[in-house]
């Protein structure tokens, strides 16, 4: 019976029922099973108001949407160009760096490919890079930066972790610190692959020009403080992450609307509505998932899962390997946000019992999900890139494959070398 129900829910999910609806259906049948009054569903959903720091999500999302609607992407591009354009494979390095920064700030929703990819893909071709390489690089770089502050998935992981009773309390600055080195590792490995893949191609190098650099620094003078504001805010320990979000949103609003005037005041209500619709949908899933998790805990499912795992898997290494496979599959079918709110509450206690640090688990989780962005059948960035660059999914998948393998390698390194995630934290 239970198995039938589970299959039914999976079928509904695959047939396109909204994810919040499937989770709530599962929670409702669970409550019926435990003979809990169904009014409880409403009460459970309202528990969203008990979560602290939640306001950081709409505010960071608002800031991200304003940034992606403004010309900040062009300014970032011309700045990185004057910084790295002289280096061998300079433009390819620019793609990696600019995409990572842009993704971190705009909430990892595929907008990087739309805003930056459209500029970078033709530029790569013009420099003489092969079509397949350029397409793959631009498509896969769209999810770099997931592990850099202030990426929304990273914050959601932090909020879920703080919400759960795991014994130790972790601060947000620690979560952000944990992601830094792994994110850098991914960027470096991709850069190495770029050098290797283009070793037979001569790409023109541009002379470094101090004047150009000065010019692009001047033109992005108001954007430049942004990363410093976020980093200083988070790592000073003086501000809560929700307060950093408020300051970021205020700063972006002032600079893009009143100083650069990229965005007219008239446009703001629509941008806000679009941003809130996106994050509101995620918050509804979060609320639904909390109701569902409560049922699971009442039904002692985590305990039985835990006991079963302990019987069959005795080493930490095997557990990690299975975790990677599991997360790759999840990442291929579920979007990152739904995966976070549904899966993390289930696996976090189990992972802790295998001696895995919760911060490390967060990094492993997001690194795996990053690959999910570019794996069929539902890799979101494949579809966005296919729409943007007018080519087939198959073509994109072939182009992305080598980069995907590099990501896979970095995920393995990140998983089996925990100190990469933990050594910045004492």
């Amino acid at each position: 019976m239970t198995l039938l129900l589970i299959l039914l829910f999976i079928a509904l999910l695959l047939l396109g029922m909204p994810i919040f609806a499937v989770i709530l259906l599962a929670a409702i049948s669970g409550f019926l099973f435990l003979e809990i009054d169904l009014t409880a569903i409403g009460i459970e959903l309202y528990r969203l108001v008990d979560m602290p720091l939640l306001v950081s999500l709409p505010l960071f999302t608002f800031a991200g949407y304003i940034l992606s609607e403004s010309n900040a992407s062009q300014r970032l591009l011309s700045l990185t160009r004057s910084l790295f354009g002289w280096a061998p494979d300079g433009l390819a390095i620019i793609v990696i760096f600019a995409c990572a920064v842009f993704t971190a700030f705009t909430g990892a929703s595929g907008v990087t490919i739309l805003a930056l990819g459209a500029l970078l893909y033709p530029a790569l071709l013009k420099e003489g890079y092969k079509d397949k390489f350029s397409l793959g690089l631009v498509t896969t770089s769209g999810s770099l930066g997931l592990l850099l502050p202030p990426s929304i998935p990273l914050i959601i992981y932090g909020i879920i972790m703080q919400q759960m009773n795991i014994g130790t309390h972790y601060d947000f600055d620690e979560i952000f610190l944990a992601g830094l080195i792994p994110a850098l590792l991914m960027m470096v490995l991709i850069a190495l692959y770029v050098f290797w893949d283009n070793r037979h191609i001569t790409v023109p190098r541009h002379d470094f020009s101090f004047n150009d650099l000065k010019k692009s620094i001047r033109s992005s003078a108001w954007d430049l403080p942004l990363p410093f504001i976020v980093f200083a805010g988070i790592f000073s320990g003086k501000l809560a992450v929700s307060e950093v979000a408020a300051i970021t949103a205020l700063y972006v609003l002032i600079t893009e609307v009143f100083i650069y005037r990229d965005i007219k005041i008239k446009q703001l209500p629509d941008i806000a509505a679009e941003a809130m619709t996106m994050i509101g949908g995620i918050l509804l899933i979060l609320a639904a998932a909390m109701a569902f998790t409560n049922f699971l805990i009442d039904a002692e499912l985590p305990d039985s899962l835990f006991n079963w795992m302990k019987q069959h898997i005795d080493s930490k290494l095997t557990f990690l390997l299975l975790l990677n496979i599991f997360l790759l599959i999840i990442g291929a079918v579920l979007d990152i946000f739904s995966a976070l709110v549904i899966i993390v509450p289930l696996i976090l206690p189990i992972a802790i019992s295998y001696g895995i640090n919760p911060l490390h688990l967060g990094v492993i989780f997001l690194a795996n999900m990053q690959i999910g962005y570019i794996t069929p059948p539902v890799g979101m960035n494949l579809f966005i890139a296919s729409f943007r660059f007018k080519c087939s999914i198959i073509e994109l998948y072939h182009a992305s494959l080598p980069f995907l393998l590099v990501y896979l390698l970095s995920v393995l390194i990140i998983t089996y070398v925990p100190s990469l995630s933990l050594f910045l934290i004492d």
């Binding site: 047939l15 307060e243 509505a273 949908g281």
Partner: protein, 162 residues
């Protein structure tokens, strides 16, 4: 028909504007609180609770808006890979099912609203909880209606000749 269309456009604008107002209030409250705390060592006691309530209202209104154009996150394999007839029929059924679920949520949250109304627990600054909870049945009702309309639209398309 035109007046109905006009009304629905007006409603959409109202929803969008409410979301804008909500995000600006969250921003305003949070920034004011930071300034008060750091410059004057003073804080609004209910600032934290009220921003949470604003996030809650945002979630409920955004959910309505997302139902407007089927934006709720879902796995859209059928639309991408399904055959023509499946592409039309299955979504219609799924929308109908979602509408029914939303109707159930109207019921469940109205019950909850009634408890809270009788109870009268305060959320913050003298405002009772039920004021915010009222948004739940309203939002789920609108979502139910919208998904029902999507289901009907989709179904009619199936039966269209050619």
């Amino acid at each position: 028909m035109t007046s109905f269309k006009n009304l629905s456009i007006k409603l959409q604008q109202l929803e969008n504007f409410l979301l804008f107002l909500l995000v600006m209030s969250m921003l305003g409250l949070s920034v004011t609180q930071i300034f008060l705390r750091n410059l004057f060592d003073y804080g609004i006691v209910w600032a934290e609770t009220s921003t949470r309530m604003l996030v809650f209202l945002t979630t409920m209104i955004a959910s309505m808006v997302a139902a407007r154009s089927i934006q709720h996150i879902r796995i859209d394999l059928v639309e991408r890979y399904g055959s023509e007839s499946i592409k039309k029929l299955i979504p219609s059924l799924i929308h109908l099912l979602t509408a029914l679920l939303c109707l159930f949520l109207v019921y469940s949250s109205s019950q909850f609203l009634m408890f809270e109304f009788e109870d009268g627990t305060e959320a913050f600054a003298g405002i009772p909880n039920w004021v915010f909870i009222t948004m739940m049945p309203v939002s789920f009702a609108v979502m139910a209606l919208r998904y029902l309309l999507h289901a009907i639209n989709q179904f009619l398309q199936v039966n269209e000749p050619g």
